[in-house]
Symmetry: C2
Subunit: 555 residues, 2 copies
Amino acid sequence: MRREKDKIKIIPLGGVDEIGKNLTVIEYREEIAVIDCGLSFPDEEMFGIDLVIPDVTYLIKNREKVKGIFLTHGHEDHIGALPYVLKELNVPVYGTKLTIGIVETKLKEHNLLSKVDLKVVKPRDIIKLNSMSIEFIRQSHSIADSVAIAIHTPMGVVLHTGDFKVDYTPIDGCVADFARFAELGKRGVLAMMCDSTNVERPGYTMSETTVGETFNTVFTKAKGRIIVATFASNIHRIQQIVEAAERYNRKVAVSGRSMENIVAVAIELGYLKVKEGVLIGIDAINRYADNKIVIITTGSQGEPMSALTRMAAQEHKKVKIQEGDMVVISANPIPGNEKLVSRVINQLFKKGAEVIYEALADVHVSGHACQEELKLMHTLIKPRFFIPVHGEYRHLKQHKELATNLGMPKANVVIPEIGGVIELTRSSIKKTDTVVAGKVFVDGLGVGDVGNIVLRDRKHLSQDGIVTVVVTIEKVSGTVIAGPDIISRGFVYVRESEDLMEESKEIVKTALLECEEKHITEWATIKSNIKDVLRIFLYERTKRKPMILPIIMEV
Amino acid sequence: MRREKDKIKIIPLGGVDEIGKNLTVIEYREEIAVIDCGLSFPDEEMFGIDLVIPDVTYLIKNREKVKGIFLTHGHEDHIGALPYVLKELNVPVYGTKLTIGIVETKLKEHNLLSKVDLKVVKPRDIIKLNSMSIEFIRQSHSIADSVAIAIHTPMGVVLHTGDFKVDYTPIDGCVADFARFAELGKRGVLAMMCDSTNVERPGYTMSETTVGETFNTVFTKAKGRIIVATFASNIHRIQQIVEAAERYNRKVAVSGRSMENIVAVAIELGYLKVKEGVLIGIDAINRYADNKIVIITTGSQGEPMSALTRMAAQEHKKVKIQEGDMVVISANPIPGNEKLVSRVINQLFKKGAEVIYEALADVHVSGHACQEELKLMHTLIKPRFFIPVHGEYRHLKQHKELATNLGMPKANVVIPEIGGVIELTRSSIKKTDTVVAGKVFVDGLGVGDVGNIVLRDRKHLSQDGIVTVVVTIEKVSGTVIAGPDIISRGFVYVRESEDLMEESKEIVKTALLECEEKHITEWATIKSNIKDVLRIFLYERTKRKPMILPIIMEV
């Protein structure tokens, strides 16, 4: 079966040189296995964009090769692009029970559930393709039922760690399958792709159980209602809140769409255990004394439409923040969200609540491995080649450092790029060509219809607004018969700038007259003349550069 | 001299319930002393805004009372609004030598220098007004020549700490004047306003000298050029970089306008000591071996136009990043700037530079007091009343906690609000009324001409762009003689949306016909009909809500 030119191709279509939209292509002979299919959230330059998904042109071009999408866990940055990608490329999706459960609710929202072949796997399951086998191996992470994925080929094993941390005391008792990792390592792993998110942090990530201890303290102190905001997907965190509630004889209500969805799925599938009668509807909270209530909610990132943010602004229909409430923000702000979170904290304090957040207590632990945990994984797996993944360039670079400090030769490490093809043989690793890859913007119903031109315009509009100039011209004579009218939006406060607008009109009139005198009749030239004189005039007077939109009507 | 109704009014016009634009009014009898006059930077919702300054309507209304602006130090959030405020209210400005030196460069840029009365003071100087005396007391902070300000009145002393930290080994040897603080405390301080920035951090802020030790390590390791980005105003940091350069026999060049300005001022005034021949022009760097060069630059916050950001993007005219460069980002990202800084770090790594930043080494210390330092200040001053300042609400709240934990009665602490008047007597503190206060936006040449309507429009435009609809109507008959034309910007990629635009035209045509049939002739009604039908149609088709701007021309 061995061929001279046998090689494995690894092509990340997302998740490297960035945080989010993880998607890795593993290609061997005539088969492709896809690991994860995530989305990322727009950064502040992507005005109006709802979501970003990976460009999967390469998969669509090779659709007959794609045997399935293999999921490591149920976080948005690993499953969120599924509804969009599956519309273009309907292939089986494999994942553990909870992961598939979360995928189901997602596909339901997109009316796709009946059309997709979802396959539930267990850790240590192996899916045999023609020339590859895909093995799932238990990991610990901030969502239950996470796995690493090992791809077995005749060339050797490629291990993708997925997102992970080392937690010897996980809430569900399911410690990562170190025995299997060690066994693979002993037999020899050709290449490892490993999570780099926390590579800059020394030491170890604390166990999830440490957060439970903080909850105990909080529950002891609280005299009124307790409101805990956390990531909806962090079932273990939610389990700990529920257990604390049970211990202190409080009822639990849930608020926020994603929290309600995931809690329902997790209870149904047995991942979240709540004693009979503890869970109540959010409508029922006022039937109990304040000190008998815990509300678990979304909004730990200060997201503008989330439940906690609405509570803080007193815009939540069921929950009004009151003196005596104890609010726990059980998450750290993701970079970029600091100000949003801070705004919510300030509002909560002003409404009289006590607020417990990361700066004040250990109410959160990370789901990603710090340096010492990464070293454990490298030491267990001892791969021949190493590809750091899941991180910005700085993280991938630091992870390369970490690997070489452990003795790996520099030449055996490749820092991957989105769309960059990495070819592996038994004895070599190298970057070869690149394939089409990148960001696809989702805006409302549009997938990919907002590109750089539209975004550039939105940015321009956001900075200094728009000035529209309209003139009606008589077709035959070319004389102006109405206008110029000038209407601005987002530029200046019009009532206080009447003079500026009047002067602008005069400037445009003069430009139009000049065009007439010079017998310029091409609309494009007239428009660009209007733009030029107005841009210069407005910049001189205001030092602003609004978008100028000249419109000529012909009658 | 004591009168029955004697009271001191304290009115913060900025710097409380927010970080930045510090300005506090101290009013006693017929006199007002203003402490600081700072700006803040726009948050991400303030589209297109350059700067935010405090609304000083109250000062302008009481202009005859205002005796001067008294500065604690030369940071932008304490002096940055001076050029704008002084145009409206030309009063003397008092500050220490370096602070006034920095103010001078700022006023020069605004052509105001000759018009303003700047007065240099020394620590322990006392400026006597009629019924108040203003005393300057040395503090430590991340800029040299910082002071606290004590206002002496017949009613008692009000102490404003200014921004401070406790540094027993400051670079210039000028330790804060603890003796004077203790003396004031012993004699009795009526009220203290105290910096709350770092109140959430336990322990102590490290001394500035610890950063020097990191520089030594960095300079030993570096084989090529060393490029250090830091805050231009952090003269002590710059002094340490210069001394390391001298020790390791490297020349120093400076890049970035604010860095060049402040370094020039600091050298001229004797705050920065550079040995003969060490400082070279940025043009001269290529005349020396790479390992003989240190470049000190702006851009530690990843600001888009700053020198380091331009270097990282290879857009800097004099400095191209190359393999072997060692870049030190000697600052922590200010909340909100994390992503910008991260982008620069990634670019620098990709260009082959080594990058040292906060996650990897102790290349920065804060300029603000942590909890134990705050306790020292409270314990020295032992004020009767306490007003936490310089912080968001969460910080002010925590600072109140800290004070009451030290034994201060809760009723003696007032959390201030912008524009809220706090009245002090010998034995009482209370909030009374409020005065006009708030944010004034600076956008280009406009000060205050961009208000909430303009900002709301900019936000709307940034999300989904604009759709302009133009029709020309015959005045007498009311019939449409040209159009409707539809032009969009920032909405959809037009070439791929021709159908959508054609359909939109039809929708508008139908709406216009209906208006004609119903003999609707008011433009406002016609416009709002166009808006309504188009909004509904576009939302159904795209789930987007562009701004719709109908324009009717009449001939």
